[in-house]
Symmetry: D2
Subunit: 311 residues, 4 copies
């Protein structure tokens, strides 16, 4: 399908259900996609951080993007992460996800290597020049250890290199600068600015953002879709109440004992446990070397679901 310009709405990063022996669980993945589509989301983002892309082999990644694109069959746009260290490796991922039919690719700054601003600029320009699909920049400094500045993003947008931004940096001031620039600079029209922060979707939309890519949207797609509609209707009181309900639900990401596991094990473990408890996926195992939640911790996930009226 042709990607809307700008892409707008709720575009959840799709979790990747695994079997107990850590293969991609295709039936569960399809049910998850159905659950999201039924929830009213406006697009899907596969192979992002919440999808455990960093933990998936190329074989797994191909299976995921093939499965989702085929199943969605053009009903709504599918963005695919091409997450890797540098330009040549990213381009390998761009190749197979676009061959599978992804409507856009999502790319971070280089990581592991040193990353000079001039090299980041060059990275995105090289990828865009060789990608058959539009390129979204993925700003994720906690993972890649460099920040995409608003000026760089807007320049790349104006030059037609980038079609959008998924901003998971948590830097509200920088995000706003991109939103303002995208609205006021003629060359940037059609550029999509999406927040990746689950907790501030209402205020991001109030600033003028186009949409959100909330990991928690796996668990409660209806909630984020409702929140998006309330914002679009200008019902800011209602939006705030819905956002706060989702903030309370988001607290599930902290169920994992920080003495035993890192934040990713806890958050992705909680999302998957919630999806299993809601009957969407069969197994909540996360990829290695993540540490599994204990039964007690899973029970607390259930309480968050109950508290949010989702069980």
């Amino acid at each position: 399908m042709t990607l809307p310009a700008p892409l707008a709405g709720v575009v959840p990063p799709v979790c990747t259900p695994l079997t107990p022996d850590r293969e991609v669980d295709v039936p569960s993945l399809i049910r998850l996609v159905d659950h999201l589509v039924a929830g009213g989301v406006h697009g899907l983002f596969v192979l992002g951080s919440s999808s455990e892309a960093a933990y998936l082999t190329d074989r797994h990644r191909k299976l995921v993007v093939d499965t989702v694109v085929a199943h969605v069959a053009g009903q709504l746009p599918v963005l695919a992460g091409a997450i890797d260290m540098t330009t040549p490796r990213v381009l390998d991922h761009v190749r197979y996800v676009t061959e599978a039919g992804a409507d856009a690719v999502v790319v971070t700054a280089p990581f592991y290597t040193g990353t000079h601003p001039a090299e980041i600029d060059r990275h995105f320009r090289l990828i865009a020049s060789r990608s058959p699909a539009p390129v979204f920049a993925y700003d994720l400094p906690q993972s890649v250890h460099s920040k995409l500045g608003a000026e760089l993003v807007l320049e790349l947008a104006a030059d037609g290199v980038l079609a959008g931004l998924k901003d998971s940096s948590g830097d509200a001031g920088g995000f706003r600068a991109v939103v303002m620039g995208a609205r006021t600079r003629p060359a940037v029209s059609g550029f999509s600015v999406l927040t990746g922060s689950e907790l501030v979707v209402d205020t991001a939309l109030a600033m003028g953002a186009d949409g959100a890519v909330p990991g928690l949207g796996n668990v409660d797609p209806e909630g984020y879709v409702r929140l998006y509609r309330l914002c679009r209707e200008g019902d800011w009181e209602g939006a705030r109440a819905e956002q706060e309900r989702l903030c309370a639900l988001f607290e599930m990401v902290r169920v994992g004992d920080p003495g035993r596991m890192g934040g990713s094990s806890s958050a992705l473990g909680a999302f998957k446990a919630a999806l299993r408890l809601r009957g969407v996926i069969d197994c909540s195992v996360t990829a290695e070397p993540q540490v599994p939640l204990s039964p007690d911790e899973v029970e607390r996930v259930g309480k968050y679901l109950a508290g949010a009226g989702l069980l």
Copy 2:
């Protein structure tokens, strides 16, 4: 071949020569290996950071390891990096480098993802349990943003998980703790402690380290082999003089203008320019998105070579 335990001596991380269109330049790679072997090195480390592993596609990586292992043909041990974000992806690299015949694999802590100490521990244990070849830990906090503590390394060594450590952390105190532990704990016998810091090989060996993995060893393998011998003979005055000559030569890594490029573009660009100037490889291009050295900057590389008696 069977890996010596501990592996000792000079084990340069082999640069990856590229053609002008950024394919692996196999004839140059073979000449580089010959140059290193003729220089007297004790092993080779392919697909490490100085090899631009982060910039090489899987196809490139396979070609490199296949070429080098076949060409070396058991004359000396070949270690191969399996550099990727997480356990499952690392294991994919472990598979093809060991199938190619690498004598050991070299693995960092997870990166891009959050990395809890328990997850790092689990990562190495899982990899070792599934790798047909011994595993070396690669401590490189500037790339992976977590430090391998001496206690963790020694525990993994004692449990037979790790066969050695390549320490590029620059943390001399932590390095010494591993060296002392490797000598005094009976369960750790045969564990190889290698420094990746070009500038302190003499003092690392004085502490009791087994060897070095110096990127600059591509340019001047004879120098590092001479340095190693002087240390082994206890000629610390001579060792210091040789080390200081190499320190002066190492300054070439700073020829690149920091306003135009990052440290990796500058350092790897300088090593490759030096190899070309010395007639070892045909082309000094680095992988994308690295920025090339200017002709002036390359000329300065030549002056460093001349100053060290290498031109």
Copy 3:
């Protein structure tokens, strides 16, 4: 005066005008206070980061707080920073600012030293137990290199240790957690949550924050007061327009050449240049070792003022 609970509204961090030989310029300081009071602000915060507190000697700091408290004479609350590395040193500052009559003290986590969460907790409890005035926590990770977690802040609030938070962390999600906690936990009633981010005052207030501490409020206090009123009236469209005007004005912080100076030299230099151009203060010199703006850079500050209708 008695501090309102919660303190609400616009509480600018008052710049510290200096003479050309870098003494506190008392007449300019008094004119600046009058300018802010005339602008309708709801409180003043002296000796914060925008006040160059880190650059002021104790003698300078005392002169500032004495001057401002005496001149304000109870018309509106005066908060005073007690910025130093550790508990005993902070308490020395607490002593003289409260003797001068400051209505509250503003305190960061320890810095320079290692800072364990338990030590941060202990730091605030010790200070509150010995301070005659209420204590506000100042969350400024870019300066102190540790983040005050929402849970810690709310716990200290519930225990009566903290009267408020000035959050300059830029972390919108964590900020929102404090705002939500302050509204829903009975023990935290009266706790004041203030944003220190100039660029997101509208959305912070939309979340339920009590007010803002904008450095740019020195330059355009009327603008921030207008913004505050629009938010309080629920005119979110108007608020957004006003906020965006202020965002555009805020761009002045980047006039300084990053090759010649750091962000503080540029931003504080711009604020002071703007205050001089607006005729509020006599001299725009900043404290040492900050680098002064060039005449060209100052001219660009003037253009920002003109663009915002302030010249």
Copy 4:
């Protein structure tokens, strides 16, 4: 006294004994100085990080420097830290420590504020131009969050701004560059290069450093003096054995439970506990908000002392 150029040998950073109510314990401080002088040290460094300077009020700091300078009475050089955030505040400390008779001042890069290289350069030049005593740079990135580059240090040395460097950065390569520069550049003659790393004094001296500033030297001054002599005599085997004994002793810094306290509470708590157990000081309390060691943890300090033959 006139400071030797270069200052060489063992110059321990003198711990600051406190009374149970956290006043400076002058009799204990004098006994500690006597203990160090009797141990053969070549100079004293008061008001450094191991002295808890960051935790001492100005009144405490003055009492320390007055007490030590008066008691030492010119027998050996006394360096004094002037640890504060920025130039004007550092200069206030410079004033009283030089009035007290300190033979040199020790100054870090600015902290808390943004720190551009040009501002760091300016900071040291301003301080040196106004200090009546020679200035040593204190490289401590873990506290001040910027690194003093070798080129900057050597330039400041060549310009007569700096008399020496205390390097606690742990960066062995950068340290070596300063050592080499100090020996080979004529304008830098007399510049003193001291390592602050307890664990690599032998290798620092082997590189050509002038001496060491070991916090652990409070506990075992004889050990470090012996180590220094062995290095000066070229007995590198003996030096390594002594250094390793001190490395094992240094492990005491890790007795504190990392779940309950930070590294500073643990390390300074251990040094002070060791000094009390050895009968040098009366009370091992550390300054607030540091967390005290438990009786069990103190007992383990005693075991380290016993193991090193110091009890």
